[in-house]
């Protein structure tokens, strides 16, 4: 395990922090949980951050709304504006969006919402495997190593990127902010359920801010960090790898989501502060 320490921010109601720490460990990193009531100055110890999934504050008012107001998120904003990367997964993504860190064109301004899932054929909470691929030219810290569409799992009721700002999606695409989008197993943009699982505009699965240092990603890479987590019946190369894996070796085989978390491995260790 490397000396690169990643702070995993925990707010009341989040429930994926342990899995995230374990997946970071599998990627060779040291993940440490930072609780919401710890001083924000502690974040200076870390090279990067993950805000994991769950239901912060029971999704009261809106998913991510209460946690986004916290002093710890204010401290996170200072750290990422100083150049450190941060990944928000599912509810963590909702928190980053509510905090105006994604897309973050103007510091702190909230330009996008995570609305309730709404796509023909499916409304409401949805947990399923989907395929995601990176925007061809999106310059994002977390997606540089991603070359092919990969399967990953979602589990959310409010994951649909929407914005009332005229031309928002076009602007995001022009500026290459469309970091990750839902696609078919062949890699074509998903235009309908089930490949677009929530009706997000532009099939957005992930949107980045601050020149690619911050990523709000609705699927759960930590639930696809090991190959054994991939369903045997999934199509495509990852399904082939899963079906071919036998014996004890599968326990140590990397899954498709690991590359997202493993991006932190390119960081330098933060010296003691």
């Amino acid at each position: 395990m490397s000396d690169i320490r990643i702070g995993v921010l925990q707010f009341p109601g989040l429930n994926c922090e342990d899995e995230t720490v374990r997946a970071l460990g599998f990627a060779g990193l040291t993940g440490e949980i930072v609780r919401w009531n710890e001083p924000g100055s502690r974040l200076a110890e870390y090279a990067g951050f993950v805000v994991p999934g769950g239901f912060s504050y029971q999704d009261r008012v809106r998913a991510g709304a209460i946690a986004s107001q916290s002093p710890l998120v204010e401290a996170l904003a200072r750290e990422v504006q100083g150049g450190k990367p941060a990944l928000g997964i599912c509810n963590g993504a909702q928190i980053l969006v509510e905090a105006g860190l994604v897309p973050g064109d103007e510091p702190g301004r909230v330009d996008v919402a995570m609305a309730r899932n709404r796509v023909e054929g499916r409304d409401g909470y949805n947990a399923q495997w989907v395929f995601v691929r990176r925007g061809e030219t999106a310059p994002c810290f977390f997606t540089e190593e991603l070359s092919e569409p990969f399967p990953v799992v979602i589990g959310h009721a409010e994951g649909r990127f929407v914005s009332r700002e005229p031309g928002f999606l076009t602007r995001m695409q022009d500026r290459e902010n469309r970091t990750l989008y839902y696609c078919t197993p062949d890699g074509d943009e998903a235009t309908a359920y089930p490949w677009n699982p929530n009706g997000a505009m532009g099939a957005l699965a992930g949107l980045h801010g601050l020149d690619g240092q911050v990523l709000a990603f609705m699927p759960h890479p930590e639930r696809a960090a090991w190959l054994w987590q991939v369903p045997e019946d999934i199509v495509g190369p990852w399904g082939d790898r899963r079906r071919a894996a036998v014996g004890a070796s599968i326990a140590a085989a990397e899954g498709p989501g690991l590359a997202v978390l493993g991006a932190f491995g390119r960081l330098q260790k933060v010296e003691s502060v």
Binding site: V61, G108, V110
Partner: protein
């Protein structure tokens, strides 16, 4: 024809409103400014003949999963014609909106022929305090606000209906206008730590009339 507004409030602590209030007070440091935050679910049924209102109220109280008399209180209020139409076309809600209380499970609200503002003050259960105002702000989902309400046993299944959340922010201010402006600033999310209750990228919102002054009775 009128619109029928059906307000539903929990009999016990509203954890959503309490958490939002605590966030305003403690996290955002607005404890000297905000005195109370209340939340009602609002269901509005369009174009109800006033003579049919009791049947609609019975449908709301007896046949819908979003009202349980063991958990909730209700107030059914007639609103002016065209309210939903106004929301649909230009996003505003006409003033005055609420016109007359027609039924409630709170007898104290109907004990006398009170003005609708008094009824609203009493429903909100806010204590009169000099310099404080109650600002009711209605929020609704931009995409499904006008969809048919869930549930069954409606007298007429074809009506257009609205559902939303009525936030009432009680705050200290220098004037009615200042109270309304500040409440909207606090409610509508524009940036981190600026606005909490309504997300304008997916919700519509409108004040229901001017802020209510909460001055103690004199004499």
């Amino acid at each position: 024809m009128s619109d029928l507004a059906f307000l539903v409030r929990g009999r016990s602590v509203d954890l959503v409103a309490m958490t939002a209030f605590n966030t305003f007070r403690d996290t955002l440091g607005l404890g000297d400014e905000i005195a109370l935050l209340e939340r009602d679910d609002v269901y509005v049924i369009e174009n109800v003949d006033e003579g049919d209102a009791p049947a609609w109220i019975e449908a709301c109280t007896d046949h819908q999963h979003w009202f349980n008399p063991n958990k909730h209180r209700f107030a059914a209020v007639l609103a002016h014609d065209g309210a939903l139409e106004a929301v649909r076309t230009d996003g505003t809600w006409p003033h005055p909106w609420l016109r007359r209380l027609v039924q409630t499970d709170r007898p104290d609200l109907v004990a006398s022929q009170r003005a609708i503002d008094d009824v609203l003050r009493a429903w909100l259960a806010v204590r009169p305090v000099d310099g404080h105002y109650a600002v009711p702000l209605l929020a609704w989902d931009l995409e499904d606000g006008l969809s048919p309400l869930p549930g069954g046993h409606w007298p007429d299944g074809q009506r257009v209906r609205l559902r939303g959340v009525l936030w009432t922010i009680v705050l200290r201010a220098d004037s009615v206008d200042a109270a309304s402006a500040r409440a909207e600033e606090l409610a509508v999310t524009r940036a981190r730590r600026k606005g909490l209750l309504v997300h304008p990228h997916m919700q519509g919102y409108a004040p229901i009339g001017p802020a209510l002054a909460l001055e103690p009775a004199t004499g």
